[in-house]
């Protein structure tokens, strides 16, 4: 069974997780084409992806970098690293 190395709880079986897909930041101000690209387009080619994984037993979301050719988990990313401010001036959105 494949194990996923949780930063705080150690390795856990992959069957305990739901795959959340590639992490990406939504464009805060964007035209329709930019939005469409954000909603649909993905990094399809093999390489290192930043992805969300949901751990069902603890209800926690985790962010990992994974090599999608070898299926190797390379490192976990603290969620704080990808946080961003929401715009306060909503008239521009």
């Amino acid at each position: 069974m494949k194990l996923i190395p949780l930063p705080d709880l150690g390795p856990h079986p992959v069957t305990e997780f739901d795959y959340g897909g590639e992490q990406s930041r939504p464009p805060l101000v964007a035209d329709d084409a930019t939005w469409a690209a954000h909603v649909f387009n993905r990094t399809g080619a093999p390489g290192v992806l930043r992805e969300w994984w949901y751990h069902r037993p603890t209800g926690g979301w985790y962010l990992f970098e994974r090599d999608t050719a070898q299926d190797r988990f390379l490192r976990s990313i603290p969620v704080q690293d990808i946080c961003y401010e929401l715009p306060t001036d909503t008239s521009a959105v």
Binding site: A36, A37, F40, R42, G44, E51, T68, A69, D71
Partner: protein, 413 residues
């Protein structure tokens, strides 16, 4: 033909004509280059030569013919999809398949079996009723049937599934069929070659030359080739090719696994799919049970197959067919499925002039082999999308105009 067999036994097969020509040198230039020698690439080459008389066509295949998803699929052919666009498209393919053995002068073992998609819940029944209505509207043989009908057709099945998730009814599609996948690729390949198409195996495209948003040629491990038209038909390798021309797409690669048991006496005539149990099964003409599930849960560019897959599948299969408990699994494998968010393909022209895409075939593209070959040939020759494939254009993702086919394609391939 027993006489011919006897001749082979006595004299050997050395004097027989080869199916494919031996390796030839690459030319400097072709009118149309096709990347990918799977069913789709070979069918497209065949129709380019046969219907459009295109003289200089080359198919470039990095490995061997049909070694991609074509040779890994579980060969289900059906047209009982959910969207009007999908139903009309796949129906044309099914019609081509029915005469294809004669057309290609090769026995494709095309075998019409009938196809049950089981419903274990009211919501599944509702989707099936919806599908049946859409199907009938387009003249497709498709109907909702009750437990008695299923029990009569498949007496070996436990309709109560061990008591857990009883079967309530099913979508019945009489034209559902299976075929011999390799033969489809070989038949199209031979037909294309006989009409002058060059087929180059062990020839990998490593780069694409684009000048001023126009295709000018490709780089391969055997040198450069000039061409003004290039068709990418590489299924699980699509993102690597689109990356070469800087084209963004929604395609993500997920492994799809399958396995077969040892051969046993025929007992299962129809194809059985259960979306709720995540399992589908048919019995091959050799007697093996051919089985599969939905795609693996996360992106992966690999064809490894796992023990977990067989374990889970066996668990579900036993609920449906307790009599398979002592069967042994003989082989298991995986292919790389090029998945799209709406479970429909991506076909046709692209923002790059002369670059055509035939992809997003995910877990459902074998049945489309004839019709995609035919419509993509027309599209490349006329430099505009064939009527049948317009709904599948790449730009549907910019126009928010998707073709939601998930309800008919996620487990039943």
């Amino acid at each position: 033909m027993p006489l011919r067999l006897l001749k082979f036994a006595l004299r050997g097969t050395d004097a027989e004509p080869r199916f494919f020509p031996p390796e030839q040198p690459l030319a400097d230039q072709y009118d149309i280059v096709i990347i990918g020698g799977g069913g789709h690439g070979l069918a497209c080459a065949y129709y380019l030569a046969r219907e459009h008389g295109v003289k200089r066509v080359a198919v470039l295949e990095q490995g061997y013919l049909g070694g991609g998803n074509t040779g890994r699929n579980t060969t289900i052919v059906r047209s009982n999809y959910l969207t009007p666009e999908g139903v009309q498209f796949y129906d044309q393919s099914l019609k081509l398949f029915q005469d294809l053995s004669e057309d290609l002068d090769l026995n494709l073992f095309y075998s019409t079996r009938g196809h049950f998609t089981l419903a274990h819940s009211d919501s599944a029944l509702r989707t099936m009723r919806w599908r049946a209505e859409v199907n009938k509207h387009f003249g497709i043989d498709s109907e909702l049937v009750d437990r008695q009908r299923i029990a009569k057709a498949v007496p070996e099945m436990d309709l109560d599934c061990g008591g857990d998730q009883p079967v309530l009814g099913a979508l019945w599609h009489a034209p559902g069929a299976v075929a011999r996948h390799d033969a489809v690729a070989w038949g199209y390949g031979r037909g294309a070659w006989q009409r002058g198409v060059e087929i180059h195996q062990k020839t990998r495209v490593t780069g694409i030359r684009v000048e001023g948003e126009r295709v000018r040629g490709v780089q391969t491990n055997r040198g450069e080739i000039a061409c003004d038209k290039l068709i990418s038909m590489v299924a699980g390798f699509t993102p690597r090719i689109t990356e070469m021309v800087g084209l963004q797409t929604p395609i993500e690669i997920f492994p799809l696994q399958a396995c077969v048991t040892e051969p046993v006496k025929p007992f299962l005539n129809s194809i059985i799919v259960s979306g709720s149990l995540h399992v589908y099964v048919s019995q091959s003409s050799r007697g093996e049970l051919v089985m599969g599930a939905s795609v693996d849960p996360s992106v992966l560019h690999s064809t490894r197959s796992s023990f977990g897959f067989v374990e889970e599948l066996a668990d579900k299969l036993l609920d449906l067919f307790p009599l398979t408990g002592r069967l042994r699994v003989m082989r298991q494998w995986a292919g790389m499925s090029d998945m799209t968010p709406d479970f429909a393909p991506i076909m046709g022209t692209t923002p790059i002039t002369g670059f055509y895409l035939d992809a997003g075939w995910g877990t459902w593209g074998f049945k489309a082999t004839p019709i995609s070959g035919k419509t993509m040939a027309w599209t490349a020759v006329n430099d505009q999308n064939h009527e049948l494939i317009k709904p599948f254009r790449l730009s549907r993702f910019t126009d928010f105009d998707l073709v939601g086919e998930r309800g008919a394609a996620s487990v039943g391939h």
